[in-house]
Symmetry: C2
Subunit: 369 residues, 2 copies
């Protein structure tokens, strides 16, 4: 059975060594030494400051939205993303709306956003997603931010190691970047997430917020529980030693897929000089029919790629209940034709070859048909 | 160094055995087999149905408030509680107000609530707390609910094993009960919490809600990430084997304290026939001066009891910023005189005796004036 992803498991001996330390210290959670160590190591490895570890990627978004006081504010996000981006805004009581994506990058289209702004739309905050780790048009969003004055919070769930053309972490763009450290991510803490803040004081507010708003003994913020535990931080520290290996394996697998698939499918367009975190292996097929055919054929071999992200958020059953008439033509088109192929450490060349053959064969017959 | 509490650590060998199973299955989180096993064992042990494990006690409250659609609704809670009760309501966008506590039980006073209701106050939901595990006047709240039609969500953070006079779990009262499984609790999953639902369909809604609202592949709710991981569930399973021992040790320690403190301090009044979960050892002192004197004297011995809950929520710096003029005389009085004494497995009789001596001596000299 081959799934779209499989969690990376580091040396168990190493993990247990960390557990022994936790037992010795009797410090199980609440900003413990392993959380501090992981924070420092991640900051150094990623080349960022002001990093805050939290209990999940969605928690990172929730904290960012609260730090920016987005309740009853007007927030624009992308319809081509995982549910959590939209529903974390909904939970925060924001007025969330969508800006369609670019046909080639599959990220929020800054020109469409500009049209919305020029038409007088109220926008207090923009939440673009570095989809599948592919960096957004960060310079265009910066420019719009200066002209129209809004906050930018990047959902960088998949973009842990993405670099711009000056080798600067993509996480340093925007006011806040949020990412996920869930078990299915290439680097993970079982469940976990993190934020990177431009602004020191927002980091300090968030630090209190994830610990019930406590400032010493007293609550100076309305906070909740967003803490990462020592047992989860221990997993992060164990995986971190292997990160370079994980990245190079995944990059090799992506290269193999691309050499075998030739130009039979479309890939995300990448900004020249940017280095994209190898989180996923998404392909765009000619039409939905070919997506479904490929899924069926692979299922017979016990191989399960994923229609990710399908449907576009505005077409999800939940969103249809509350707002049925929103059309996002590009996102709907891309989401109907997208397929994320298996990608994880240990996936062998034979499987990649088998998957690629089925896809190229299907695409050929679709194009002939 | 003796703190008010210390996390219970089960056999490391047992915990590691569970970790080995997680590695074998490669199933690290997302409603895994250990979460299912812990759910079933807790339901059996506590005598409840419809239990849902989540990532924290605060998450349990947040999920309960969302399931009951409390945004913009009028919710009454107690001012004598941990910050999380109030701030989870605030995060949910509810209009939260307070009902003062009973002088003897330190729980929300149903007579005060009745006065508020009789005066025409709009109340959509009531959130009482079984403070320090001490059961609320559940029958009185039931009766008010029938008369005035509102939801009841109990914050049962400390009340894991509390039983009524028919040996029925206190968690079965109200529409939903929420509790905490944080490392400092007598039974814990490092970080964690749970809900017990009266209503099957609300359990099913919540189950989707903690997994991004997903119903199969598609989102039918606006959900977030409230999942308990397998590594945290493994800790719960390891501690659960020792729960009876933990409970009896703590009950013995409380009995020792009470025999040594005689009647020099006040304790919580308990409903006749109810069996209270031994979560804390709270005492009420004659005045704040004696609280501070005792803290100072114990600090010199490296013993650190805790002013828990101090201040009353309406007097916290955060609440003072948004609503400075609310008075809750009973809660303010109790919170100024409360002290929670050290209570955890392994705390020895000598320490209990030392602490009790200092307290009785201080109270005597206070009363002599």
């Amino acid at each position: 059975m081959i799934h779209v992803t499989s969690p990376y498991l580091p040396s168990m001996k190493k993990y247990i060594k960390y557990v022994e330390g936790i037992y010795e210290r009797k410090w199980l959670t609440n900003d413990g030494p392993l959380v501090k160590e992981l924070t420092a190591r991640l900051e150094a490895q990623l080349g960022v400051n002001n990093l805050l570890l939290v209990s999940s990627g969605t928690m990172a978004l929730q904290i960012a939205f609260r730090v920016k006081n987005l309740r009853n504010k007007h927030v624009v996000t992308t319809p081509f993303t995982f549910q959590a981006t939209y529903s974390a805004l909904e939970w925060q009581g924001s007025h969330a709306s969508f800006c369609d994506i670019d046909t080639d990058t599959w990220n929020m289209d800054p020109y469409v956003l500009e049209q919305q702004l020029q038409a007088g739309k109220q926008v207090d905050c923009v939440v673009p997603v570095h989809t599948f780790g592919n960096s957004c048009a960060v310079e265009a969003f910066n420019e719009l931010q200066q002209r129209y004055k809004f906050d930018i919070i990047y959902d960088a769930a998949h973009a842990l190691t993405t670099l711009d053309d000056k080798n600067k972490s993509i996480l340093t763009y925007g006011d806040i970047s949020c990412f996920s450290l869930h078990a299915t991510k290439l680097f993970h803490t079982v469940e976990g997430g993190a934020l990177v803040f431009k602004n020191d004081s927002e980091l300090e507010t968030a630090r209190k917020m994830i610990n019930f708003g406590l400032d010493g003994e007293f609550a100076s913020e309305a906070g909740i529980n967003g803490k990462l535990s020592e047992f989860h931080a221990a997993m992060g520290l164990s995986v971190l030693d292997d990160l370079d290996l994980i990245l190079s394996q995944r990059k090799d697998q992506i290269a193999t897929y691309k050499s075998l698939l030739h130009n039979s499918v479309n890939y995300q367009a990448v900004i020249v000089g940017h280095d994209i975190c190898p989180s996923y292996m998404p392909i765009l097929l000619p039409n939905e029919h070919s997506v479904l055919n490929i899924i069926n054929k692979l299922a017979k071999l016990n191989i399960f790629p994923r229609r990710y992200f399908y449907p576009a958020i505005n077409k999800s059953p939940y969103y249809q209940k509350i707002c049925p008439n929103i059309s996002m033509p590009v996102a709907e088109n891309v989401s109907s034709r997208i397929l994320c192929l298996p990608l994880f450490p240990g996936l062998n060349k034979q499987a990649i070859s088998q998957i690629s053959n089925i896809i190229t064969h299907e695409v050929k017959s679709t194009l002939r048909g």
